[in-house]
């Protein structure tokens, strides 16, 4: 990807933004805890890691996906107290799956603008409330006039996109399945993982067909869970830790809901979001300058699709990098070292726990058994959502 170098101060901000703590609950198909309780558990961990108390938090940002999952309208107001939002400026941000990185981007605005010195970002999702399957709630994202009468399932858009990606780039399902194999194995080292297992390419190709080419093991599971991040101004970070992780770039881009008017083989909106974040972070050659990446991987082909959108691979090159082991945890460009959504689970917005939180833990050298082998300075996380239309990107660095 060609990125222009920024001349002069293009992005004005009041102050730099550091991340000093993160937390997440376990991700499981069903959890006993309510959304309030899950949020509380994740926030408590983040506060503890940061060495802060809830009274130190000035503003709270919440991310959560459609109310239809919970069956509670305005669920941000409902779960506000569990998320630490009572009696302070509080706001919910929501762009479907893209929320996993969009909520931290909103947290960044709060601190970078100087409005807050300490901002808490909470993401929560409880998909299990919707019975018998959360897929029934996904019906309502389709166009009510053009698409819903055809009785679509959400998996369809992924199957259609995957087919197009395979066709244009001449990629085999075997190559795509390697992503599922890698991420589910990486997740074995994640304490919160829902579907960590050692599987083979053969297992993926023989798993139950859903909407071909998509099969059962190509897909991440629906989950319950919550995650939290604490973002602070430099003078606060200095008092709390010697090793803060800095947010160096943010970017987001949305395309229309007319997804059947796009060539689905390449996510242009992700590329645009990445271009914005890279310009801010002064990254001109993402493949060389990025040490670790957490692209959004709700489906195995999506990791490859998004690596190409993020400029971490040329168009059609991501499957080759995967096959050569470049994206393994001990590779030259570790991708989804957390185990990603495919291995740890996919509680829509709370996927922040394996995207933004994971990059923070990797760059702070606190990822434990998941820590990548190479030395890391700069990382990128990305999320995606809705009808093939949203890209959200955040670049972080442990050097200011």
């Amino acid at each position: 990807m060609e990125v222009e170098i920024v001349k002069g101060l293009k992005f004005h901000k009041k102050q730099d933004v550091a991340i000093v703590g993160a937390g997440m609950t376990t991700f499981k198909r069903r959890l006993l805890e309510t959304p309030k309780e899950l949020s509380y558990l994740a926030v408590k961990q983040a506060l503890e890691e940061a060495g802060l108390e809830i009274s130190d938090i000035e503003m709270v940002v919440l991310g959560s996906a459609p109310d239809a999952f919970d069956g509670v309208s305005l669920k941000e107001e409902y779960m506000l107290d569990g998320a630490g939002g009572s009696d302070r400026p509080f706001m919910r941000y929501f762009v479907g799956g893209g929320t996993a990185v969009f909520a931290p981007i909103a947290g960044y605005w709060h601190v970078a603008s100087g409005l807050a010195d300490v901002c808490l970002v909470v993401c929560e999702e409880k998909m299990s409330c919707c019975h018998p399957h959360p897929q029934s709630a996904f019906k309502y994202i389709w166009d009510p006039i053009l698409e819903r009468p055809l009785k679509p399932n959400l998996i369809w858009i992924f199957a259609l996109e995957m087919q197009r990606y395979m066709y244009v780039n001449n990629v085999k399902h075997e190559d795509i399945a390697l992503v599922s194999v890698k991420n589910k194995a990486n997740a074995l080292d994640h304490p919160c993982a829902q579907v960590a297992e050692k599987i083979t390419v053969e297992d993926v190709l023989k798993s139950e067909p859903m909407a071909l080419p998509v099969r059962r093991l190509d897909v991440s599971p629906p989950s319950d869970g919550a995650a939290a991040l604490i973002m602070v101004a430099p003078h606060i970070a200095r008092q709390l830790t010697d090793e803060p992780v800095w947010v160096t770039g943010v970017g987001w881009c949305l395309d229309t809901t007319h997804w059947t008017n796009r060539d689905l083989y390449f996510p242009r909106y992700v590329a645009e979001a990445a271009r914005m974040a890279y310009r801010m972070a002064h990254i001109t050659d993402p493949r060389k300058q990025i040490d670790v990446a957490e692209p959004y991987d709700p489906f195995d082909y999506k990791e490859l699709h998004h690596m190409e959108g993020l400029g971490l691979a040329k168009k059609g090159e991501a499957p080759i990098l995967t096959r050569e082991g470049v994206t393994a945890r001990d590779g030259d460009l570790p991708v989804c070292p957390s185990g990603g959504l495919l291995g740890v689970g996919n509680p829509i917005a709370a996927a922040m726990g394996v995207k933004a939180c994971e990059i923070y833990w990797q760059l702070a050298y606190r990822a434990g058994k998941r820590q990548v082998a190479k030395e890391v300075t700069t990382g990128v996380c990305q999320a995606w959502g809705d009808l093939m239309q949203i890209g959200t990107v955040m670049v972080m660095s442990n050097k200011r």
Binding site: T26, L31, A50, P152, W156, E208, P213, L240
Partner: protein, 176 residues
């Protein structure tokens, strides 16, 4: 500010209590159940109303923007790129090209289907490149479908059409 109280700890601690489907069906956990019954009527709007009414006549209609010279399908009353009103309405053909497809074994509620459905994005002939819609393919074996295949709409009989996207029953290969 609780300065200097930082403990070296490393989340995540995997908190939370997993429960199973059975815990719910056998009422081992306390829960509350509700079945909201909400009824909606979505108005089709200006562009879609005209489009749906044309379907009753067995025709597909698109809109045209003279500035970017696109024939826009499905039609809208504005060009989202030029951000101006559209200039004209034009008929497009009821044939097209398969851009991508999938063979679906599940229904909208993720329940298995007995007979798989073939779904495709079809770029419509007469509209600008990539201007397509999602629809169903039939009268073809799933393994015979390919990207680039030419297809034609199969309409419901005129007296059964009701101004819905399902007035097109499905699309079939153009050449048998």
């Amino acid at each position: 500010m609780a300065v200097g109280r930082k403990r070296i700890s490393c989340p995540p601690y995997a908190e939370g209590t997993p429960i199973s489907e059975e815990d719910i069906s056998k009422r081992r956990v306390t829960f509350f159940e509700d079945h909201p019954n909400l009824v909606y009527s979505w108005t089709a709007g200006q562009a879609m109303s005209r489009f749906l009414n044309e379907l009753k006549n067995g025709r597909l209609i698109a809109t045209k923007c003279e500035k970017c010279r696109r024939v826009i399908f499905p039609p809208r009353i504005y060009c989202e790129l030029c951000y101006k009103p559209i200039d004209d309405w034009v008929y497009v053909k009821d044939t097209g090209t398969v851009q991508t497809f999938s063979i679906s074994y599940i229904d909208p509620d993720a329940r298995p289907l007995e007979k798989p459905v073939i779904v495709a994005v079809i770029a419509i002939d007469g509209a600008s490149p990539n201007m397509g819609i999602m629809h169903i393919l039939d009268e073809v074996e799933p393994e015979k479908v390919y990207i680039g295949m030419k297809v034609k709409a199969v309409w419901k009989p005129e007296n059964e059409r009701e101004g819905s996207i399902t007035d097109i029953k499905y699309w079939k290969p153009l050449e048998g």
